[in-house]
Symmetry: C2
Subunit: 199 residues, 2 copies
């Protein structure tokens, strides 16, 4: 097999491998509460939000980079599974499970693309660059919007408290005060309406 | 309400509206044949493919633009529904249904974003620019890969013939001879293995 063919074969294998993310089910429900959302749907949604809400960024944003980061930030969950934001037990070995998953899944790609895609995932995890700050904000804002629209179904199932959500929405404040105002108002309304427990 | 607030309200309404695309079910199955794919998953998959396979483009590609086009190319189906590629009857009033849907759905956005998002959808439909040619190729390659991986489940259900698939994969040839080779080989193998009827 020529080098070119091997390259293309690896790319096509990765595309098929990615299909697995559609079966990783998250805790939050769709807006209509009909069923839980999966990682592919969530990643699609926040990638569109990157384009839609870029005007609220304070620094320069490379939208192509941020969108791809959004689209692949949960790929490691194909092996490592989804870790619920409010489950401290599951968070313990999360990093270890995800690094092992990254080795295998991004390792399917040709070397240069493995480095680029894995680099984007690591950048997201570190959360320091403008694009990572933006993605992490959308990764929090989107499920809060869906939870609120579905009458807090997932929050209620997990008896989530205001004090658990407050530290998480800091990720939105790091991106934009204006969008933090949005998510803060949603949270308070959810507490008032009994979707989230007060403290 | 200030202009700024109205702008943000429209953007947030659009984000919630987009959730509906996760309930638009396509004909093709996931690779593991466990269930049919939906439009959000499909759009996510081809948007990642845009970044992954850009090296096969002959002309210049604006990846951010192509990825957003890929992500929103099926948004009109929230109202208009999915039209199966091999159903000539459903194709008759497709354009009319989709334009009405575009008016309503993109109309939720602030004017400048309505024009940009709708413009991208129209550009995809026309299929002339480099980005539209790329998106349309991925829009065909991705379900062929999934159909083949799921042992042709959807092709068999619809008793699809080789002569029905051949004109569709021309969209891949318009983008790249190399990727056309890939999709052509998948098609022939699917015929050999009885997933698609020969003519």
């Amino acid at each position: 097999m020529s080098t070119t063919d091997e390259r293309l074969t690896r790319q096509l294998d990765f595309i098929r491998e990615l299909d697995g993310i559609k079966s990783i089910v998250r805790q939050n429900y769709l807006c209509d509460a009909s069923r839980r959302e999966n990682d592919a749907e969530h990643s699609w949604h926040i990638a569109v939000m990157i384009f839609l809400l870029q005007e609220y960024a304070e620094g320069q944003i490379d939208c192509a980079k941020a969108a791809l980061m959004a689209m692949i930030h949960d790929v490691v969950e194909i092996d490592a599974g989804d870790t619920y934001a409010y489950d401290p037990q599951a968070a313990i070995d999360k990093a270890e499970r995800e690094i092992k998953a990254a080795d295998r899944i991004f390792g399917i790609l040709p070397k240069d693309q493995e480095e680029y895609f894995r680099g984007l995932w690591e950048e997201f995890e570190e959360g320091k660059t403008n694009e990572a700050v933006f993605c992490r904000a959308m990764d929090v804002l989107q499920p809060v919007m869906l939870n609120s629209a579905s009458c807090g179904k997932s929050w209620k199932e997990h008896t989530v408290r205001r004090s658990q959500v407050l530290p998480r929405i800091e990720a939105v404040r790091r991106f934009s005060d204006k969008l933090y105002g949005v998510v803060y108002d949603i949270l308070n309304k959810a507490v008032e309406e009994g979707m989230i427990l007060p403290d």
